[in-house]
Symmetry: C2
Subunit: 280 residues, 2 copies
Amino acid sequence: MCAVGTGPDDLGARVEFPTTTPEETIRRVVEFFRERGKREKLSAVGVASFGPIDLHPGSPHFGYITSTPKPGWQNTDLVGPLRRALGVPVGFDTDVNGAALAEGLWGAAQKLDSFVYVTIGTGIGGGGVVEKKLIHGALHPEMGHMNVAHDWRQDPFAGVCPFHGDCWEGLCSGPAIEKRWGKKAEELPADHPAWELEAHYLALGVMNLVSTLSPQRIILGGGVMRHQELFPLARQKTVELLKGYIQIPEITERIDEYIVPPKLGENAGVLGAIALALGC
Amino acid sequence: MCAVGTGPDDLGARVEFPTTTPEETIRRVVEFFRERGKREKLSAVGVASFGPIDLHPGSPHFGYITSTPKPGWQNTDLVGPLRRALGVPVGFDTDVNGAALAEGLWGAAQKLDSFVYVTIGTGIGGGGVVEKKLIHGALHPEMGHMNVAHDWRQDPFAGVCPFHGDCWEGLCSGPAIEKRWGKKAEELPADHPAWELEAHYLALGVMNLVSTLSPQRIILGGGVMRHQELFPLARQKTVELLKGYIQIPEITERIDEYIVPPKLGENAGVLGAIALALGC
């Protein structure tokens, strides 16, 4: 998905094409921006990419997608071809770090120093800001792959993560719901026990984000969270699981403003890329 | 524990007295620094405190210990009395954030932008640095209270955390070892199955720190980690649990330098306080 603009109030039409081979996909991206660059001056390009990616400025593979399971995309240089073809600086980060940045600039986390954005969909991914800086460190967060208190006696489902089985993503992503109950999430009625269990796993993950990052807000997006009834359930279960240990008004008094949906909706992806371009 | 100095190479004798009532304890701290202040000029005081504490500069309770279970210490102003009595700036943070800062300045995390310090002892606490800044956010991390994949079928022990039962601290702290096996950790022989299980829980916690914070190094200190044989075991189990998903040389090639003991040993506490004073 590509677009040209400077923010949510200045965002041109999004253009979308399928992620096929790296060569073809990058060629189409370059064509799009070359064409648009004839009409308006491009100052920078931002790329909010699926991962894992190499973000070390000194690394010979900086700007590459690295060990992804996506066929054909291992060790693919994204930044190099775009910079060479377009002649502008390229901002680069994970899709979720980009979305977190965009929610901080224009969305659900404005004016906060420290927050987390998590998407719960075909997988679970998370990006975060600590003291106004995106979390990178050795790589970048892979929040979906944390382990959580899976009680096999209550829930004998083995999980769907091809790496870890019952990590957070393995138990709580869209495919986990579908495999556990034999039906897609959107086909499950609102009173199905799936939702209570889903909220429980959401809360376990949220509890670990609170314990490790102490964010000022947690934004939960992605396809699964379009089931809005999950928000009150997940909030309630988070408060229950924390057992009063974390005494902060964000949790004890304002949980409705603590665990929230994103505000940028379908534009979170391209706005994330634009936020990364603005940071160049 | 109190000391005067500017770092590990300039650290006067530590003075230690028991934590009794807030009044008596703060009075003895003030006396110690007043007495020392007659001989050398104090520029600032740092306090690396047990928590939870209030670190919000604008809060009416900034500088207080807040909801601690320690009798008599709830809602105790630490920073106010010290600043009034000593007339110097007071740096204030959690003991583990202080220790993390000190390990970054002088110890096992020098020159790193992003790392975590965890102490595994009578409880589990952790502090962290992301992009050179201590993690604060809504409060401060409470890493011991994350949940981990406790498999009740393999380990029916309910945990010792008074709040959460089988959180990381509940399963993996010194008191957890003692209660699970009916013996203090130091009385268990090196070939006791306790160590394998302990390393497993250490690795589950480490895996969650890697997933959420992506640190460049994880320092494990505290009384339990004096059992040095835990380090190779915990490293091996961390690599096994990650299942090759996180492909970074820190983990795939240099795990011995990734999960390490602290370097400041018994001085980590006072050096943490000095690091906080230096930041004033």
